[in-house]
Subunit: 106 residues, 2 copies
């Protein structure tokens, strides 16, 4: 099992809307994530727009690819791209780069 | 159960040493954390010195207080303080402020 952490940057002017949309993530998006192997997945948001993701999965590359293959993910990422900074042409999920884990206590 | 995420800043010049010390955290420090209710606790380190912590616990304030009451934590935090930036007079564990969780998928 892999423990994955990533960091992205949300536009600080749009935090309220971003927070609100994540209170009601589409049920089919939640279901697609679960089916693709995203477990115990949390997003944490700081006042400066720092967004931290944590999840557990068997294989993050595979879990990402399985999501990329779904139609609901394309629609979700398209609706999210406006909130992110410094992504260029990347969809937000393509920018999720795992950060090195240096310590773990079960 | 609470899911806690915090962010701290390590001196980028000292990352190798910090990483190395976390490969061999003292067994009594690991044991004290477990006894104080720190579960599934990971530290993630970025090349720029951003340190992200994630853990699960029943009550983070209580889990912190239980650690603060141990002798091994005082020694550990004293040996860690040199690595952190912008802490002032705080011990590193005192600076662990939970970041708002805005989304969770079990």
């Amino acid at each position: 099992m892999q423990r994955i952490c990533f960091r992205l940057q949300i536009d600080p002017d749009l935090l309220d809307r971003y927070r609100q949309l994540h209170r009601d993530v589409w049920p089919e998006m939640r279901e697609a994530l679960s089916k693709a192997g995203w477990h115990n997945y949390s997003l944490f948001l700081e006042p400066d727009g720092t967004l931290i993701g944590y999840l557990e999965c068997e294989d993050f590359d595979l879990a990402k690819k399985m999501m990329e293959a779904t139609d609901v993910n394309k629609r979700w990422q398209a609706s999210m791209s406006q909130f992110f900074k410094d992504l260029g042409a990347m969809a937000p999920d393509q920018a999720m780069k795992p950060i090195e884990e240096i310590f773990h206590l079960p």
